[in-house]
Symmetry: C2
Subunit: 185 residues, 2 copies
């Protein structure tokens, strides 16, 4: 297990980690049940409140846990966890306890009952902000109410899914800061 | 200008290019006006119909062009266009013609009136599928009705925005295909 030192991070700035489009692990808990699912279909929707839109198909065991509890945690795994990420997508929480099966550590969150996955680089504690798109699209709009991010490295080495078993690993950091109008930064 | 050879691509498979989270250029047209905007807040929502959810703030000049025409094109720029991408975000279509200012080539699309940006790696012609989230969130749900993708390279070298002028460039391709259950590919 990578030994991250994490600290609180401003919820209005988490686009730094989610806007680039990484695969994330969503953890949930309801009435003593916990689960983890992989997710690649998400988008930032607002800075403040810090809103994230997420597609979570109702066929997923996590769907009801999230809907009924009104909460989840979005965790960012780095590339060294890739086989675990794939394995989590291969099985259902209706059959197995994924924390046990994949030897992951459930850490207590601050604002929600869903657990943090300690092995991940960052954790965003979420509450459902708007459920109006659930029935038609299985689209949750979450508000991130608390963020925990590793102090180092500055940017995680994330994996980005292309389908068919293929991923892109995050590459070089480049800055075009001097090309932006200040008000657009 | 990079000389891409493009061909039709199945609209149900465009997640290959959008799910990894690149910055895209959205082109639009309405009553003789055209415009281009940069966009980083988008997510795949369904394979078939091929749905993409996009945050386009109503303050953008493109917002009304897209809403009123019911159409747009999502174009994928590669990293060699990064300064153009930033420049497009720095100015408003209310003041300038961005195709002229940035010396970009507007090519005719097949299914929509919005133009393709020829200098980009891929183009996804879109029609508004659902506008119910517009008033509250400025969130468009588009259906991709036609896709054009460069034959080579297999994967574009995309840029992914982190905010504050900083980007991540897409990195190595890795496959974990042998780790997936066949039904999950």
């Amino acid at each position: 297990m990578k030994n991250y030192n994490k600290q609180d991070f401003p919820v209005s700035e988490i686009r730094r980690f989610l806007e680039p489009g990484p695969v994330v692990l969503v953890s949930s808990a309801y009435k003593g049940e916990t689960n983890i699912m992989t997710m690649g279909w998400h988008t930032v929707m607002e800075f403040s409140p810090s809103l994230i839109g997420c597609m979570i198909t109702s066929a997923n065991y996590s769907y009801d846990l999230i809907k009924d509890s009104g909460e989840c945690v979005i965790n960012i795994p780095e590339v060294h966890m890739a086989t675990t990420v794939v394995g989590i997508g291969n099985c259902s929480g209706s059959d197995v306890n994924k924390f046990e099966k994949f030897n992951l550590t459930a850490e207590e969150a601050t604002m929600v009952k869903a657990p943090l996955i300690a092995e991940c680089y960052a954790h965003f504690e979420c509450k459902i902000h708007d459920a109006q798109m659930l029935d038609k699209y299985n689209f949750f709009i979450f508000e991130v109410v608390k963020a925990h991010v590793a102090i180092s490295p500055k940017y995680p080495e994330t994996i980005h899914y292309r389908g068919e078993g293929h991923f892109m690993v995050s590459g070089n950091a480049v800055s075009y800061r001097d090309k932006f109008l200040p008000q657009n930064l």
